[in-house]
Symmetry: C2
Subunit: 334 residues, 2 copies
C-alpha cells in the first residue's frame, strides 16, 4: 500500500471518516465514509476512460474540492482508492484494459495534488475483499475469497486476516486459472482462462455456443451477442428459458470445480460472490455450491460457505474506504 | 501448533538444539538438530505402520531414552514432529492412510510421556515447507510452495513468511487439485486429482496407460505395475526409453499447468520440488518449467523459480526441527 504522506491520526472513532474512490471502466464513485461503515455521501461520475486522463482529473478535482469545502469540523483523515490494474507499491495504474490513459497513470500523486491527504491505492478486486472483511458479509472472517463476476472475474484473498499479496504484490488473479488448456481465447493472451467461462462475458459466450450446438427455441436466439446482457440472460433463466438455464448450469459447474481447487489451496471459511452474474441468485448459487461440494477433498466438505455480497453498486466505495481505515489503524498501532 | 508444555527457553543460540521426529509410512527418522541447521545425529527406525502403535511407542522410547542419557550439558529444548495427517491443534494423527494405528493417535501426549519436553506437531508436508524456509533452498523467501512428489503429492505453502494454514488448519492439499473432472480414481474418493498424475504412483499409472495405447518397444513392458518403481522409470528415461520419456513429458505438462494455477493464487517466488520423482532431474524439470511458463498469466512470466530441494531423505528431520525452532522463537518474542 502506498501512502506518500504520513498517515498519522491522533485517534480513530466511529465518526472518523475517509474519502473513498472506486474507479471503474464505466463509472467512478466518490464517497465519504465513516469508520462505522456509514456512507455519508456518494457522487457518481462517468469515467470516460477512453478520453484523456487530464479531463478525468479535472472532473475528479471538482468533486473533491466541493467535498473539502463542506468537510468543516470533521475533515477526512485519508483517501482510499481502488482501481483496475493498480500497483499499490508504485501508486499507479499499469496499462488497465479498456482505458486510454496511457501505460502508467500516477494516480496517487494526482489525487494528492488535488487534496493533500494520505492517499492509499490498491487494485479494485483487493479493495472489494477488504470492504467485505471490514463492512460486509465476511466481517471478522480470517480466511475468505471474493469473486466478482462482472465483465471479467476479479478476485481477492484474505488469509490469516490479511490481504494475501504474494511476492510481486500480484496474488489472487483467479480469473486466469486454467479450465481447459486449449479452451476459449482470453484477453490476456492465454487460452481457457476461468473468466472466459465464469463472468458475464463468459456466460454470453456460453449462450452463443449453446445456440450453435442445440436446436430448442429460446428468446436469446433473437438477441445479438453485443446486446446480450447478464440481466437479459438472468431474466430468460427466471422465465424458464432452457438455453439460459443450461448456460447457468455450465457456468456453475465450471466455477464450482475451480472453487474446490481454491479451497485446496486456501481452506477458506467462505466465498463472497458479487458482480452482475450474482444477481441471478439461486439459479447460479445452488448449482455452484453443489458443483463445488462434489469436487471438494473430503476434509473440506460441508465447511465452506458460499455467500452473496450485500454491497450494491453504490457501496463499491466501502472497499477503498476499508483500505484507508486499515492503513490508519496500522499507523496508530505502529 | 500444539505445545502442551510451555516453550520457554531463556535464549537461543546457534548451538541450541531440538529433537526432530519425521514419521513416514515406511521409515521414522529421529534426529538431534542444532539451531544452525547442523544435524548432530539421526537414527532411522522402520515404522512398521501396520503393527500396533504400542510397539512403535516402545521402540521410539528406546531411542529417545538413549538420546536423553547422552544429552548431558546441552539438553534439547523441544521436540518437533512431522507426521502424515497430523492435526496440529489436536496433537494427533487422524486416520493416516496405510497406518494400522487406529482412527486418532495421540502423538503429542505419547511423546511427552516418554520425554517431558514441549512437543510440537504438524503434518509432514507443512514440516517440509518449514524446513526449506529455515534451512533449505528457500531460506528467507517470504512466499513459496513445496511439492513433494512421492507415493502421493504432498504440499506446503509459505505466504508472507508464515505457513498458510487456513480456516480449519487444512490449507495446501494441492495433491487433490482437479486435473480432469472424470479422470483417474484417487484414494480420497474423488476422480482426476493431481496426485493421480504427478507423483511416483501417478507416473506408474501413466506408464501403464502408454503401454496400453502405444506399440513402441520399451524396457518397461517387461516390468509389472507393482515392481515398477520411480527409480526404474527414471533410469529408463535416462537411457532414452521413449515410453519413459513420454511419461515424464505428460507428467510435467499436467503438473506445470496446475503450478501456473498455484501462481495465480499465491504469487510465490519459487517452487521447491522434492520426493522420488524429483530425482529424474532435468528430464522432469525442463518440461515442467516450460509447461508452467506457457500457462502463466503474463504478469508472472519469468518470475517464478523452480528449485529442487537439497534435502536428502536423511535430512527429513530438518522439517520438524524447523517447526520446533519456530515455536521456540515465537515463545521468546512473546
Amino acid at each position: 500500500m502506498n501512502a506518500a504522506n504520513p498517515v498519522n491520526p491522533a485517534t480513530l472513532n466511529p465518526d472518523s471518516r475517509v474519502v473513498a474512490i472506486d474507479i471503474g471502466g464505466t463509472l467512478t464513485k466518490i464517497g465519504l465514509v465513516q469508520a462505522s461503515g456509514t456512507i455519508l455521501e456518494v457522487e457518481v461520475l462517468e469515467t470516460h476512460a477512453r478520453q484523456p486522463f487530464a479531463r478525468f482529473k479535472d472532473r475528479l478535482a471538482a468533486v473533491l474540492g466541493r467535498m473539502r469545502q463542506q468537510s468543516g469540523q470533521q475533515p477526512p483523515l485519508a483517501i482510499g482508492v481502488g482501481a483496475p490494474n493498480a500497483s499499490a507499491e508504485a501508486g499507479t495504474m499499469v496499462t488497465p484494459p479498456n482505458f486510454g490513459w496511457g501505460p502508467e497513470i500516477p494516480l496517487v500523486r494526482t489525487i494528492q495534488e488535488i487534496w493533500d491527504l494520505p492517499v492509499i491505492l490498491t487494485n479494485d478486486a483487493n479493495a472489494a475483499a477488504l470492504g467485505e472483511f471490514r463492512f460486509g458479509v465476511a466481517r471478522g472472517m480470517q480466511h475468505f475469497v471474493t469473486l466478482t463476476l462482472g465483465t471479467g472475474l476479479g478476485s481477492g484473498i484474505i488469509s490469516h486476516g490479511k490481504l494475501l499479496t504474494g511476492h510481486n504484490g500480484m496474488a489472487g488473479e483467479l480469473g486466469h486459472l486454467n479450465v481447459y488448456p486449449e479452451g476459449r481465447q482470453c484477453n490476456c493472451g492465454l487460452k481457457g482462462c476461468l473468466e472466459t467461462y465464469a463472468s458475464v462475458t463468459g456466460i454470453r459466450r456460453t449462450i452463443s455456443e449453446l445456440i450453435a450446438e442445440r436446436t430448442e427455441p429460446s428468446a436469446l436466439r433473437g438477441v445479438s451477442f453485443e446486446q446480450l446482457t447478464g440481466a437479459a440472460i438472468s431474466r430468460a433463466a427466471l422465465e424458464g428459458d432452457r438455453l439460459a438455464l443450461e448456460a447457468f448450469r455450465i457456468t456453475a459447474e465450471i466455477l464450482g470445480i475451480k472453487m474446490a481447487d481454491m479451497v485446496a489451496h486456501l481452506d477458506p471459511e467462505a466465498f463472497v460472490i458479487s458482480g452482475g452474474l450474482s444477481q441471478a441468485g439461486d439459479i447460479l448459487l445452488e448449482p455452484l455450491q453443489a458443483s463445488m461440494e462434489r469436487k471438494l477433498f473430503p476434509v473440506y466438505r460441508g465447511k465452506v460457505k458460499v455467500l452473496v455480497s450485500a454491497h450494491g453498486s453504490q457501496e463499491a466505495v466501502l472497499g477503498p474506504a476499508a483500505l484507508a481505515f486499515a492503513q490508519l489503524e496500522a499507523a496508530l498501532e505502529a
